[in-house]
Amino acid sequence: MNNHPDYLKECREQEWRVELRKSMKAKERTALERVKMPEHEPEVRSRDHREVNIGLSEEQAVVEAKRCLDCADPTCISGCPVGINIPAFIKNIERGAFLESARVLKETNTLPAVCGRVCPQEVQCEEACFYARKLHLLPVAIGNLERFAADYERNSGKISIPETEKSNGIKVAIIGSGPAGLAAAADMARLGYSVTVFEALHELGGVLKYGIPEFRLPNEIVDVEIDNLKKMGVSFHTNFVVGKTADLDDLRKEGYRAFFIGSGAGLPRFMNIPGENYIGIFSSNEYLTRVNLMNAAKEEYDTPVLFGRKVAVIGGGNTAMDSVRTARRLGAEKAMIIYRRTEEEMPARKEEIKHAREEGIEFHMLSNPVEYFADQNGRVNRMRIQKMKLGEPDSSGRRRPIPIEGSEYDTEVDLVVVSVGVSPNPLIPSSVKELEVTRWGTLVVDKESMQTNIPELFAGGDIVRGGATVILAMGDGRKAAAGMHKTITDNVLNKK
């Protein structure tokens, strides 16, 4: 990744950037207030599926870009898992070179329009910004600016298709079209490989399509990125479950020389408490898939989904927030988050928690379901909740919730979404016997090359991390592409 200190320094010493830095005093810059992201009103947006954040205007983006001090030691970069050259892309916005800004982003990030929207910036780049660390002010809105530059480029119709090297005719297979797979595919195509992406579902994009709702990440954005990959020569094969439709040996026989497994963590966990299989109790994967992938809430689509008036969503991650806000948009009068720790420990992005609150979502903290009850048709109508208190920190560093005996109470519900985590998708591991897996079912890889114990197999994203973020998945995809390239080149050279 192109963030070697020398390279960063070289960029920073470019004449225009030196000029730009001098054009405004640091004091003036820090005196500027962080530009607020314009949003649709909660009353309006909680009834439709439009994107909540409207996006910065050009003027707003330039003002926000001025806040960035173009630090000599840009700590923000260390907070970004793919090491985006953050000051370079921001300073390009400040000078009005929006397309150039997008180009800088794409040096390291294949999907900036996606990451600008869904990265948990407050624990990544923005947390590491000089403003937050040293000045104790609101950090530069790196995510919002990233989204701005990427959207500008897309809307300009002048999207740059990365140049690809001359085709080397070597076939590689990418399994799964989530962010990890897309990132790996892009890099391999750039290097001149003949790349095929295999996807089990009928749609491309993985969680970006079936999980994250339209009001946070419009499908169109993902589709544009996929189109770009197609223009770079990547082929896509939907309705193809590797390990079922064909296994790795079949693909080897077809001439595929290396494989990237980006099959995600798509196995929903349940709590195994009484009544959990009643009608009206969904995993978040099922609920969101019905609504996002199958468009179940729209009348002209055939897939059904149940609507709830009183909805409880169990969990505190992004998936839980997405589910509860979806339920709200589908007409829930009462939509609740039931979480066993406190808001401080909630893994969801801060912005999603804020948006959820504005949309009238109730938060029931230190609460855990213990049983569900149903009417004579088997439809859930009541749940029993136990109160919790926080004990000592556990292995994740978060304080462990402890049940309080005798604190149970019942509440009426007619729809429940269980969003307590996912396990790695077992399809591939179970179809490739020799593959080394951990006891959690994740794949074991070399941290640098993302190579598994089988030399031509690489892996990354949630299948390795067991549930992480879009940007980490993409970073893995890129590392794996580099690893694949190296292994293939070494083999070719050795054979000569």
């Binding site: 089990a200 196995l267 349940f270 959990e276 299989n277 149940l306 439809r379 077992p426």
Partner: protein, 274 residues
């Protein structure tokens, strides 16, 4: 997109459809199913691969018209395309020589039973097949079943064909007559429940192939979950076949009705479009 190469009505409510799906045809084993979607606004429904011809790259589905999607599929003609077909999914049937196997198929459960009967017969088992349905028109694949069974008994609720009575009556008659080493039951959940109760009484190991509601069919959503000995399992990846005596059929029956009202409304508005 997969092309329909031929179709045939087996009865008023059941059609047999041959589709081009070379990769699936090559990989498919008895017990596997596919998920199909008709049209960009269609839903995903599971259907058993009733047989396959790997040379011609063709798989055969047998579909009973019950709601919107099965009707849409049945209405497609030769030369039409199915928007999405994915598979083969699920675990293949465990084929083994055990001795005498009693196979009970009810209604459209007869279709998914056929490939299993075929393979179990080839493996050297003595096969006694009981086919059951409400009335004569609903008994399908009788000739095919006869070709792979040592004995076929037909039961209809109204007595319009074969013997009058339920599938379990036919089964019990056989069980009383000779030693049965294993039973296989496929049909409506309620039928499988009673078959399981019957064979439990006689301590006959029994396999049921479950037809829960599904979405993705790859283990991602949990829509298809059932309780097996009190433990939650996913039919699409852990099944579709399970030890019938361990299945919580009452829970499964409830879950199958989860969208009954939505399906009825959708079906009525579909009929209006015809």
């Amino acid at each position: 997109m997969n092309k329909i190469v031929s179709r045939k009505n087996l009865s008023e409510h059941v059609v047999k459809i041959d589709i081009e799906a070379p990769l699936i045809a090559k990989k498919r084993k008895a017990g596997h199913f596919v998920i199909v979607r008709i049209g960009e606004k269609g839903e995903r429904i599971p259907l058993t691969i009733s047989s396959a011809d790997p040379e011609r790259g063709i798989i055969t589905l047998i579909v009973q018209k019950v709601g919107v999607t099965s009707h849409k599929l049945s209405a497609l003609k030769e030369g039409d395309f199915i928007t999405d077909v994915v598979g083969p999914l699920g675990k293949a049937t465990h084929i083994e020589k055990v001795g005498t196997v009693l196979c009970a198929g009810g209604g459209v459960g007869i279709a998914p039973l056929l490939p299993i009967v075929e393979e179990m017969h080839k493996a050297g088992n003595r096969i006694i097949t009981v086919l059951a349905a409400r009335s004569r028109e609903l008994i399908i694949l009788e000739d095919e079943m006869r070709a792979h069974s040592d004995e076929v008994i037909i039961m209809t609720d109204d007595g319009s064909y074969g013997k009058k009575g339920l599938v379990t009556n036919g089964m019990e008659e056989v069980i009383r007559k000779e030693k049965i080493d294993m039973a296989i039951t496929i049909g409506p959940a309620i039928m499988m429940k009673y078959c399981a109760l019957l064979t439990k009484k006689y301590n006959i190991p029994t396999v049921a192939s479950l037809n829960t509601i599904m979405v993705d069919g790859t283990g991602m959503c949990g829509a298809c979950r059932v309780s097996i000995n009190g433990e939650t399992k996913f039919v699409c990846v852990d099944g579709p076949e399970f030890d019938a005596h361990a299945v919580n059929f009452d829970e499964m029956l409830l879950r199958l009705g989860g969208y009954r009202e939505e399906e009825r409304i959708a079906y009525e508005s579909y009929l209006k479009t015809l």
